[in-house]
Structures are given as C-alpha cells and as structure tokens.
Symmetry: C2
Subunit: 679 residues, 2 copies
C-alpha cells in the first residue's frame, strides 16, 4: 500500500492545481489532477535532480509534453524547493510571472524545454535522451559513469496525434534509446470530447511497431505502486525506449471528472470546495500545503543535492585520470567553444573558383568537425544534397546495428523534418555546449516550423542548414522552390537568417551562428555555384550588411543576398557602362543589420541614395531596405536554373533597368525617401 | 502467367522512364523502374478513368505520393491517351512543359493533386477517399451508385516517414475508408542509403494499429498477378483502408538496381543501353513504344470512356427520379454555388453588440450551413474554441460508430493540423464544388504549412479558419501567440489573408473566400470581442482595404486590420482631440488591395498622407503600406489580453503618439514618401 503521506501529497497537488487555475481564472485543471499520481512517482520517488541547481548536468530530465497541464509542473517545482514560490503559483498566467500559461524553459527554473504546442515535448525528450546517450558514449569510462540520467516525459492524447511525435518516436525506437521513458496520460478525453470521435488507434501497438517497450497501468488514479513498478520495469529494458499507458481520469476529484469540461477552464468555487472535502482538506483554505508534504518532497531535494556533490567529486577524479577528455568536458560544461576554433574557418580570394554555398558549408563543417566536438550534425535524408556530413563522420547509431556508434556525431534523421528540428531543440537543451545542426531543403523548413519557432522562443543555439534556397535549384520545380520562407524567418523574433554570397560569407555565417549561444540560425545555401566576390568578408557578416563594392559618387545602391550578390555586381557593371556609378551592398543577415548603430546603418544605406534589392525569393518585406525590388512575385517553375532566372526577370539587365527607373523617378519627385527612419 | 504484352508494357515503361530522365539530364529513374508493375496493375487493369475527360467525376483517383517518380505517371498519361504527348515527355522538367519535375495538378491533365513534398500525396488521398464516402452517402440511392470510385496511391519510404502521413493514416483508419488503397513501394532505399540507417519500424504493424487492412507482395518486380490479387483482396474489405507492401527493386533493370545511386540522377547512356537489351528493346532507339503497348492501354481508355457515357445516363435518370438532389448535384458539378447564397450572410450596424470575430464566423457558418451543402467543416480538436461547428451539424463518421454518418459534414480531425490541411486539399481536389474549411489557432497554421502552400500552388479553394489570432488570446502565452504567421501568408503567392475587423467584414470575408474558386483563404479571427464599426462594409472587403472613417483635411491615416481597427478608430479620436484630423483605413486583405487599380489604391492611401499601421502581430512587411508601424517586435507573453496590449505598446495612445511623430518628421523633411510606387 501507498504510505499515507504519499497519497496526501498527491491529493495536495490535485487541490493546489484547482486553486492555482481558479486563481488565474484561466488554465487547465484536468490534466494536473489526473496526472498527479504519475508525477508523484517521478518527482517523489524516481528522479534525481537538485532544486538548488536546476542545471546539475546529470539530473534526470522531465518534460511535460502536454504543456497546458503546467500547473502540475509548477506545483512540483514549488514543493521540491526550486525557485518557484507560492506567490509565483498565485501569479499563474500573469504578465511577467515565472508561471506562464505554458512552460517556458527560458523563464522558469526547472523547466527543461518549452512545451504547449502539442507533440513538441515528447520530441524534445527524444533529443534529450539522444544527447545523454551521445555524451555517455563519448565521455564515460569504466568507473566513471558521468552521464547516465533518464529522460521522462508525460504526454497526452494530443501529443500522440501530432505527426511530429510520430516521427520522433520512430527515431527513438530506431536509436534504441533505453533511458527514455514516456508516461501516456490515457484519459480518453480531448477538447472535442471523447477520443472516440477522432483517435481510436491502438497506441501501444503503434509504439511496438517503432521498436518501443510498452506497458500499461490500469488505474492511474490510485495505483501509485503500479506506476512505480512500471517505471522500474521500463528501466530494466535498456535497449528500447518505454511507453507506459496510464489510464487516468481527467480532473480526478472534480464533479466534472472524466469530462472535457474540466480540461481547459477553472473548476467552480463550489466544485473546488467539494474536491477539498473529498481529499480531507479544509474547504475554506486555499493554496494550502501540509507540512509533511513539504517535508516529503524536501527529502527528495536533499538527496538530489547530495547526488550532485558526489558527481562533482567524480568529475574531478575523471579530470585527473583522463586529462584530455576532462579538460574538454570542463570547457564544454563552462559553455566555451574551443580556444581559437575560428582559425579553422576557410578564407577565400576572388581568384578562388566558383562554388555552391552548400559546398562551402560542407567545407566549413569539415574544417570544424575535429576542432569542435560539440557539433552534432545531421540531415533529413538529404545528406548528399545538403552536404552536411564530413568525410570521417561516424553515424549516431546503436552499436548493435553495425552502422555507427552512440558516440557518433552524425544523425540520420530520415525524412522527418519536424522531428529533426524538435530533436535538435532537445539536443541543445541538454547542455554541455551541444551545437546541433542539420540540413534539409530550405522549402521544407516550413515542414517543421512548429519546432523552429520554439528554438527561437527558447533561445536555443540550433543551426538550420537549409540548401537549395531559391528557384536556383532548377528542375525540381515550384513544390521545392521557396518563395515565402525567408519572410517567415525574418518576421520571427530572436532568430538569425543568413544567406551568404560566397566562401568568406559562408565562413562568417558559421562564425556568428556558433558564437551566438542565445539564438538559432537559419542558413540559406545555394545549390548552384557562385563566384568568390571581390570585397567579401568573413568578419563583416556580423554586421548583417556591408558595402561589398563601392563607386565614387554612387547614384544608386543594390542590396542583395546570397546567390544574387554576384548578380548585383554584374548589374552595377552594366550601370557603370551606362555612366551610372552604383554601390553594391551584400546583406547576409538583415536581423544583424537592424542591430547595428544608426551611424553604421546610414553609412551603408545613406539618406538620398536610391536602393534596389535583389533576391530570388519573394519580395515581401524588402520595402524596409529598398525603394524597388527585384525578386519573385509568383511561385517558381520547373526548368534549368538559368532559364528560370530569365523567365522571372531576375537578371543583371533587369536590375540595372530597375535602378535607372528608380533614379529617374526620384529625380523627378525631387526627393529620395529615407529608409530605416525610426519612430 | 502474365501475358506477354503486359510484361512488355511494363518493360516499355521502365525503358521509357530511363530515356525521359536521361533526356532531361535530371530526375528520378529509380522509382518509375521499380514501380512500373504496380502502376501497370492500376492503370492497365484496375482503374476506371477517361483520358478524354480527365475530370470524369466518378473516375478512380490515383495519387503518386512519391511525386519525384512522376516520370512514371507522365508516361502512363501518355500511353493511356491523355493530352500528354511524346513531345511532352521529351520536355520533362523543362520550362513551360506539362511534365514538370514534380506533378502539378493545375498544369497537367490527369494529375489529381500536386505532390513531391513527401507525405502530402497519401494525405490528399485520404481526403479524396473521404470526399467519395461523403458524396456517396449524400447522393447515392438504391440503383443509383453515382459515387463509388476507388482512391489509389503509391507511396514510398519517404512518405511513410513524414508525420503528416502518420496523422492522415490514423484518420483514414478511424474513418474506415474502405475504398482507399495504398501501395507501398518497399524498395528499402532512401537518399541516404539503406532504410536501415533511419527507418526500421514495422510499417504494416503500424498501419494495423491505425485500423488498416494490410497485405504484402513479396516480388513486386515480377509478380503482376500477385499485385492484382492483393488489390482484389483490398477491394473485398470494405470497412478498412488497405496498404499493400510491395517489395520492389529500385531502378529494376539498371546496373545500379537496388542502390540509392539510381534514385535521383539519370542512368548513364551505357546503362540505359543494357537495360534496353535486357528487356528486348533496340538499344539504339529512344522513346520507343511498341504498337501493342499503345493498343493495350488504349483499350483501357476506351472502357473508361464507355463508363463515363453510362454514368452520364445514370445521372440523367437520377435527376428525373430525385429532382431536388439531382438539381443540387448538377449545380455542384457545374461549379456553381447556390443562387442567392450571399443573402444569408449576416449584416450588422454599430448598434449591434461587440462580438469576437471567431463568434461572428460561427454565425456566418451557421447561416450558410443549410444553404451551401458543399461546405465541409472541421477543426483540429478545437471545435469549441474555433467555433467552426454549426449546431445541427452531423459529424462525418462511419455509421458503425454511432457518432455520425458518412453524409455528415463536420470532420473531427483530432490534433492533426498538417493532415487536416492536406485532407482538405484532397476534399477540394475531388471536385463537385466541395468547399472545405477547418479551424485551429492561427499560430498552428505553421504546423501544417507544407499542405497550405500546396493549396495555394494548386489553386484549391480551401478556407483556413484560424482563431486566436494575436496576443489578444491572452494567457496561453507566447507559445500560442502568432507573430510571424501573417507575414508568411502574405508573402505567399495565390493565397488570400483575411483579418476582418467586425461582423460586416467577417461576412465579407466569407463572401470573397467562397466566391473565389481558384485560391485558398486564411481567415484570422479574434478570441476577444470587437465592436461593430461605423463605416464597416461587407462588400468593401473585396477591395482589400477601404476608408472606414474619414476626416476632412486628414493629416495622417491609420491603416489597421482585425482587432486593431477599433483601436485605430480610438487613436483617430485622440488625435481629433489634439486637433489633428485622421483617416482610418481598414485593410481586411492586403493581397486584394494590391490587385485594385492604381486609382483606387491612391484614393485610399493618397500621396502626401503619412500612414501608421496598427496590427498586433509582427510589423514585418508593413513598410509597404505605412511610414511607421505599431505592432509586435518580440514574442508575446502570458497574461490577460488587455495587459499585454499595454505591455507591448499597442494602444490608441501609442498609435496617436506615433502618428504625431510621423507628421512632425515629414513636415521637417519637407516630403512624405509616396507609398506603393511601382517600378
């Protein structure tokens, strides 16, 4: 039998969840009340963590994939002694609180990853578990189990319906991530009512098909021992991830229990009173936590703190015994890239041959592979097209496959863009300075935008290597040619959009992307060869835009990105022949340009100078930096790249003609609109 | 044994595929050569279709979900007598051809849906099969099986790895779509090599878990009778979709057969010669089709034409016997909406109460439900939040569930946004004037953008009912608050982005969205209540933007959308108090505004008038229509909506102050930059 204090602790959580959601007059009481027993098993019995140092590196990870139930997690953070006070709980869903409507990793101590958008959490958990496996295989030595944490996740029907979780679960099975344990809150309720209306598949059978170990607990409302036994059984199977189907009652204790009505709205005051009475609490008291409950969970915290002390001692011994690995690990734990890594970045002169930026990216990654062991690469089954793999790379694979090792650093994600991005978020969130990068075609960035958006919101250094970045990809046609994708990335806060023009800018792109540990980067790369440009610079990329080539008394400027910078150079030459001096500005990253001083920005795009932008994607948004635009206003087409540029009027001739028109127009108007005025 | 002509026909297709890809010097020979036998069974034996009328409404549908193998489909279209000539095959992947690099439904007769982005085709096929089920249940009568076609799809490993296909397959199983038959080209090869590197799940077991009927064919390279028998067995099971795993050899016949090298690049000239010799063709001849092969497939075409004649006669009898249904069906087949449907659209005056546009949308849908039977609604498990269901709606469900009927018009998609969008594409592509619409939160549009993009590219009338369209959703926080999403939709060709401000504009939005049969619409709707505005108009929505409220001698204009239009009205009042007359422009759809005459656009935003935009999403892109912007420049936050508007400076006061600053700045500058100059 469950000890009384444990049952009381679980009921405390249920009652407190009802209070917290009621206090906000907004939120989701149902999942916390239903999931309290399984959360108790994890936080109160199984997991190791240190509330006083939420970043203790070998802690067990916990992800609440059904993030809308976050009152549950916040309550546990509070009870366990994390820096989440009762006052914080009372500020649930209020502006500026540590307890927002969905868990945000950047803002709340103890939250590993940002969840809420369904399916992301379980997919992040796959990444967290893969990170543990990779680090354990890389750094553990006999007697030195530095990395051996478990990754737990609670997820609901919603997460299981999302495609991203299906992709990630298939990979987790393939990778045999035995330390990943998922608890499926099977309450048979979604917002539209019974799962019978839309979700009647056999979930455990599906997970078996992925190669998971599957278990069930029939009474998740009460059978704490059964849940604990299932978790123990999960741990005993070391070469398969485990999913435990835990049958629960949503809103357990409420008059509405088992109904969708208690999913996403506070319980009534009267209902909360009867819940309290039912569970032996004073119905007139709110936000009450019995002393023995604090004490019970407090003991868990103390055990966790001790575990960290022990781990730190082990690390010191490790550093002595394995000085090379130890030093590397300590560096990584400090969040530092290796000293002098930048020196490995290739540099080019205009005499060097024309190369596609995807190929130049391969050169950078190859140059960095040995120097920066925290780089973990991959591709969504386009390795040979994205050129994301360095020659000596070892694949991340379970050793039994004979196809790689867990210490491998190249991930074969399969055709699963959304999971790839979400798994990269998990890899980055693990810590130890992991820098995940992976490739697909730029157009398929939007297959996984749900995860990319969370890279940005959560400040994760994830590098999206997105090749085939325009109509320049040619024959694959409009289904593969991005038009709108860079507008999307540029319109999104806290993410950098790079479109390097040549070798130096490609190196500069990686220089910034790796150095900036607080945001993700999207790197758009060409399929086609591009010349090495006169005036291009590795260092200037950090400024976002710079004068690549200038002309005395310039009458117009071209501002271009990536594959169209050389086209702009050609257009300037045409104009020069026509007696019109023109400046060429390369803009590898508009967001970084926006962050420069007014003086710098004005030095690049001075008042009075007409500007024409050139980019072989949609023109949307370019009005900010230019008076006229050369670009796409329709979807692309299937055909050889050169012919497509002509068909869509993206040529040096068209750009020069547009520049002449702009000059003439504003000469007549008597003014040139100043760009970048700030109000 | 297979008759000789059939084997010869299959080999003809293989050889021709090698020639076609070689001719383009680009493309994918492997899948066509491997899939030729199964395609032969479908096109040469099983399917009914009329090449002379590719739109014959009761034709069997075929979707090549692994769209990169489209040479296969184009070759069959040619052999069967569709308007795809040998010359068209020679123009494979060339600009302006009927044979682009991936199948485009809008451009090639006989292509049902646009595929290539993996996972879309199978998901469209679920929509096509659902459409058949819905129409059959709605219109068929004893003796009048007007709708009874099958939907076939060929798909590969890539499609099966994508989450969208997992979502769609789960729904197909739930819906028991017995007339959906998928042939899985199990060639064990993806671009990265063997499927062993990333795709080791048990696919058939997974589909069993979804409730599918599963079958296998061991030798898909040669066992045509086995494939045919499997298809017959699939047809015999009427309450489950079927997946047939067909083991094939990629590039069958090539020296590279079974290797990834023949996946995505032409075979060498020498290899093609040996393929031809192996299959008994003249190695020196290219693009050769034996007469008996043309004759064999020609007979199929003749049978299909006869089937259409028979069907047309049946329809005429039906019209006589069931005049009401018959007239409705004929109207729908003609692509006409019901006469006078627009009269049902609600209209409002400023005296009417404040209502959220999501609620106003519910009012429109409720008003139209009876009038427009081709409206097929749904939601991704947010029915009560999106307000997408009219009260008397019947759910689309298999009758055995007791939860609805196949004639039901409301789809419970579950938490599966991507599949929902792809299934809507399939519903719309079926024809019979089906207008699918469905809801989720605006922020989760990007979970399914891979499908939405194809709505636009393929000119499908699909209506995206996207509620909770800004920080105005409040407490759910930044994980749910869209910032970048409308920049994405506006940057995309051939899709309309609506953000109505009140009741009249919501009605006007649906007026345009339903009337425009050649493109999709994204309708962004508020969670919060909005006042009915003085000056708002149902009809003006078609112009994209219009002067909602004017002031004599206006010194500035506000341009706003949706929930911020009333805020702009308030800002104009503040300015009036400060002695500054201001115009208020409502812009429910910027894309429609761009399509108006210069005169009209200048009448709304005249030269010389400073403009301030107000929209509670990211400001990216608004430079096109305004000199200064009020909006979001970061992610949102969790808290009550009113507090968030203040926190992020989106208030009437802030808008008025910005207007004053803009007026002052340009007074000093001596000019006001003209907006919308075209070069």
């Amino acid at each position: 039998m469950v000890q009384n204090v444990e049952q009381h602790a679980i009921n405390t959580v249920r009652v407190l969840a009802a209070d917290v959601v009621r206090g906000a007059n907004s939120g989701h009481p149902g999942a916390p009340m239903g999931c309290a027993p399984m959360a108790h098993v994890l936080f109160g019995k199984e997991m190791t963590f240190n509330p006083k140092n939420p970043k203790f590196i070998n802690r067990d990870r916990f992800v609440l994939s059904n993030g809308h139930g976050c009152a549950l997690h916040y309550i546990y953070l509070h009870l366990l002694g994390y820096d989440v006070s009762m006052e914080d709980l009372k500020q649930f869903r209020q502006v500026g609180s540590k307890t927002p409507g969905h868990p945000e990793a950047h803002d709340t101590p103890g939250i590993e990853v940002t969840t809420g958008p369904l399916g992301q959490g379980i997919s992040n958990a796959v990444g967290l578990a893969a990170a543990e496996a990779q680090l354990a295989a890389t750094y553990n030595r006999p007697g030195f189990e530095l990395f051996n944490n478990y990754t737990y996740t609670i997820l609901g029907d919603g997460c299981l319906q999302e495609g991203v979780s299906a992709e990630a679960a298939s990979l987790a099975g393939h990778w045999k991530l035995g330390k990943l344990i998922a608890l499926y809150d099977d309450n048979e309720i979604t917002i539209d009512g019974s799962t019978e209306v839309s979700f009647t598949e056999d979930v455990l059978k599906r997970f078996e098909s992925y190669g998971w170990h599957t278990l069930s607990v029939a009474d998740g409302d009460n059978d704490v021992e059964g849940i604990a036994a299932a978790v123990a059984a999960a741990k005993a199977v070391t070469d398969k991830p485990t999913i435990i189907k835990v049958k629960t009652t949503i809103g357990y204790g409420s008059l509405l229990q088992g109904e969708e009505k208690c999913h996403g709205a506070p319980l009534t005051v009267d209902d909360i009173k009867q819940v309290k009475e039912k569970f032996g609490f004073n119905p007139e008291e709110s936000y009450a936590v019995p002393k023995e409950v604090y004490e019970f969970y407090g003991a868990r915290a103390a055990a966790g703190a001790a575990a960290e002390v022990e781990w730190n001692a082990l690390l010191e011994k490790y550093v002595q015994q394995f000085p090379t690995e130890g030093a590397e690990l300590k560096r990584r734990l400090a969040g530092q890239l290796p000293e002098g890594w930048e020196a490995a970045l290739p540099r080019f002169t205009p005499a060097d041959k024309a190369v596609a930026t995807r190929k130049l990216s391969e050169g950078v990654l190859t140059a960095l592979a040995d120097k920066v062991p925290e780089l973990l690469g991959g591709s969504a089954d386009l390795t040979g097209s994205n050129l994301t793999r360095w020659k000596q790379a070892v694949d991340f694979q379970h050793p039994s496959t004979g196809l790689g090792e867990y210490s491998g650093r190249y991930f074969r994600y399969g055709v699963r863009e959304h999971a790839m991005f979400a798994i990269m978020n998990g890899l980055a969130a693990y810590g130890v300075n992991i820098v995940p990068y992976a490739g697909t075609f730029l157009n398929f960035l939007t297959y996984g935008w749900g995860a990319t958006r969370l890279s940005a919101l959560t400040h994760l250094r994830v590098i999206y290597v997105m090749t085939h970045d325009s109509i320049g990809l040619g024959e694959d046609g409009p289904t593969h040619q991005p038009i709108e994708v860079l507008a999307l990335t540029r319109a999104t806060p806290n993410i950098l959009t790079f479109r390097p023009a040549d070798g130096n800018e490609t190196s500069g792109t990686y220089l910034v992307a790796l150095s900036d540990a607080s945001r993700p980067s999207v790197v758009a790369l060409s399929r086609q060869n591009l010349p090495q440009l006169e005036g291009s610079s590795v260092e200037a990329v950090a400024k976002g835009a710079y004068v690549l080539q200038d002309a005395a008394d310039a009458k117009v400027a071209f501002i271009a990105t990536g594959s169209e910078v050389s086209l702009a150079v050609d257009a300037a030459k045409l104009l020069a022949e026509q007696g019109v001096p023109a400046r060429v500005v390369s803009m590898p990253c508009s967001e970084l340009f926006d962050e420069q001083s007014v003086e710098y920005r004005k030095s690049v795009l001075p008042a009075g100078l007409p500007v024409v932008s050139v980019e072989a994607l949609g023109t949307f948004g370019w009005e900010k930096y230019s008076h006229a635009q050369v670009g796409m206003t329709s979807f692309g087409a299937s055909g050889p790249a050169g012919q497509l540029y002509k068909k869509f009027g993206i040529t040096a001739e068209a750009a020069a003609a547009k520049a002449q028109a702009v000059i003439a127009h504003y000469a007549k108007a008597g003014y040139v609109p100043e760009l970048g005025v700030e109000f």
